[in-house]
């Protein structure tokens, strides 16, 4: 009976985790996290932005690394059009030392990140968003003073970056929004590294 209850609890917890977080169409509460330049960054700090490409990512996950140059390219292409990338690292450095704040600073400098790369201590923002993996993309647009989620999922359908006919989900979603339309595809799944949540 005891094991049965424990198993039920585990299953429920897993279910709650999978079902939790924001859905497409939800309004997002602002966050305030420390950037690699030691300054705090919030969405409110971008008054001119039309929206955001929020990406939960990290230093250590090979899938995130495979997408790193595409994340940089997304920011370079869409920040001037009003959709900057905000990268958020939700991994607990106690579990994953390579994702500590100082390692984030090093990586941002070496790779020349021109976007914010924020430390999500205690993975509170990742929990609120319902992010489960790195990289995990949330495209947000400003509507009537609210920040509304328009797309959740993968950057594209080609992790290995080998297929010239790849579907660029994130780009297509932002392009649609820039044209005053809703994205045709609003939700995708992708294999990625589980977020190393803090056990504290």
């Amino acid at each position: 009976m005891k094991w049965y209850l424990i198993t039920c609890f585990i299953a429920l917890a897993a279910f709650a985790k999978a079902q939790g977080g924001y859905k497409v169409g939800d309004a997002v509460a602002d966050f305030s996290l420390k950037n690699v330049d030691n300054k705090t960054v919030a969405m409110a700090d971008y008054p001119a932005a039309k929206g955001f490409i929020v990406i939960f990512t990290c230093n250590t996950c090979p899938v995130a690394q495979a997408y790193e140059s595409r994340i940089i390219a997304l920011h370079n292409k869409y920040a001037p059009k009003g959709y900057p990338v905000i990268a958020i690292n939700p991994n607990d450095p106690n579990t994953q030392p390579g994702d500590s704040f100082s390692e984030m600073q090093k990586r941002a400098k070496t790779k020349g990140y021109s976007f914010a790369y924020l430390e999500d201590t205690g993975n509170q923002v990742a929990d609120r968003f319902g992010a489960t993996r790195t990289p995990h993309v949330y495209i947000i647009s400003k509507e009537d003073g609210k920040s509304v989620i328009q797309y959740i999922g993968a950057i594209d359908n080609d992790t290995e970056n080998a297929n010239p006919d790849k579907i660029t989900y994130a780009e297509q979603a932002v392009d649609a929004l820039l044209n005053g339309k809703k994205p045709a595809i609003t939700f995708t799944k992708a294999v990625g590294c589980s977020i190393k949540r803090s056990r504290g």
Binding site: R133, K189, S194
Partner: protein
Amino acid sequence: MRYIKMGLRNVLIILTCWLWLNPSTSQAQNIRLLTLNQLESRLAAGKDTTFIVNFWATWCVPCVAELPDFEKLQATYSGNKLKVLLVSLDFKSKVNSTVIPFIKKQHLRNEVYVLNETNQQEYIDRVDKSWSGALPATLMVNTTRNLRQFFEREFTYPELEQTYLSLK
């Protein structure tokens, strides 16, 4: 000439025995590509066998950490109708350079496959609707008992054992 032939034959026999007895070599030869259809056929054909299918990758640190627990579970319950399958989601281009050397080094005894699917939008949902795609992930199936449970999480050995035993 005859001596040379006999010598060659002995070398061949010794080589064959060595390949046969060396588990890492024979395991490495067993790595196969597996489509989801092939996996589902295997699960259905197993009838009252409980399958524990662990989705992992060599690049996934917590996956690699829990692989010995899946090995231990299969070894502990080898008398039961339990079959652990390790399905790697490594890039197919890395099978020879990374996955096979990894399996050799770890001396994995369980059956190891590399998933032969490309469309993540299709196959992630087919494994389980609740799977976001994060690794590690584990599927437990018993066709006869109409049992199918999915876990997007890591397991410690006691957790894995409890979860397996609670399926009964």
